[in-house]
Subunit: 239 residues, 2 copies
Amino acid sequence: MTPDAIKVACSNCNLRELCMPVGFDLADLARLDEVVATRRKIKQGQTLFNSGEVFTSLYAIRTGFFKTSVSTEDGREQVTGFQMAGEIMGLDGIVNDHHSCNAIALEDAEVCVMPFSNIEDLSREFPVLQRHVHKIMSREIVRENSVMLLLGNMRAEERLAAFLLNLVQRLHARGFSKSEFVLRMTREEIGSYLGMKLETVSRTFSKFSEEGVIEVKQRYVRILDPDALQKIFNPQPCI
Amino acid sequence: MTPDAIKVACSNCNLRELCMPVGFDLADLARLDEVVATRRKIKQGQTLFNSGEVFTSLYAIRTGFFKTSVSTEDGREQVTGFQMAGEIMGLDGIVNDHHSCNAIALEDAEVCVMPFSNIEDLSREFPVLQRHVHKIMSREIVRENSVMLLLGNMRAEERLAAFLLNLVQRLHARGFSKSEFVLRMTREEIGSYLGMKLETVSRTFSKFSEEGVIEVKQRYVRILDPDALQKIFNPQPCI
DNA sequence: CGTTGACTTGAACAAGATCAACCATTGTGG
DNA sequence: CCACAATGGTTGATCTTGTTCAAGTCAACG
């Protein structure tokens, strides 16, 4: 056990409403504590796991912000997602007992380590946990479907609008502002996620800014006209 | 129950090696039969399920070929996958109890209908089934990760090469030829999956053909130089 | 045998990539 | 504390890839 690992409990975690315990009553919550073995701190820039490593656990983010990515053999990186508090990482490792993507902390972070064997054992006992695990995996499949739609069908402006709206919506669900936030990732990482180059990301930010839809200063973003953003992302069919 | 629904068994299905029963011993196999409620035939062009419909079951393909797709509000379609015998559809529906994509038969097909409540009940009893369900979902997440890489980072030729190699590899696992096959989908559907226009798909086919890498005649494809395809898909880093 | 849907091919065009220069912010060592 | 390097971000000019539009081919089928 690493020195920064400590024993912890879901039952008094303030992420109850977003994380694994969703839909558990108090009695179940006590048992759920068994799935979390330890916590682990990851410094900004450090990896939680890398492609190729043996899979043992899922990870629930307590604090901090991550990106996950896959790479081609010739070194091109595709960011596959950005994860924040209450979200689960590591699902990619189940199928082959090895991770197939990298998880890197974009700010100092702490995760709950949940050995997958604990999850499997306990979810045989608790249908509510079983159902929750299934939903988490299904949610990830649905999310990736929508990223495929974004990458396959949308233009640069639509992609960035969709990205900003998704981000602010998730932040808002965690008690942050509906309109302003600080990006945790670089233009290059945004571009990698959205299938565009960092220059195009920067230009699109500038364009939105000129149009008065957002205010940008480096990593700080304020959404001035959410409806306009929504309209860019989700244009009406031309009748 | 629809008239074309009949009672069936996994234990004597010839897809045992590819479908749900992977890794089950004979005793377990008998119980596994309980998860399949019925079979259902779907004619070419018919939908198995549509986005928005209530989710009740997963579907294992016995025969035939499907595409799954999602759409934007203004009617742009993104094909999210092509599925063949032994593959499982419907995982998208678990998270919200409603499907979020469409599944359409590209040729006359038959599926095993597996009510998800049966799967959940039985997988609490059989760790091997529980594990298998988790792996199926994880495999889908990993597949979608690699499609994101393809859509976000690859050029047209790389995309089509990757697509053809993936298709032939899956067909080969089902006993078909390593080198020739008949496409079940149109150029437009391939293009939608790969994030390119049907004209670009057609041109890229022609280019591969001129280079002697493949032979194409309409939907018939023969791979003449698999190594060349592999190299297009997976170029070496320039040192 | 004509109609239809799928496919191919060419020419013009545009979105985004690439290349390049420059600016802003942060952190570090003298 | 300041100089300056390093990293990240912006902006302009040019180029490329793939899109769009258009015309024509092919195969299947009623």
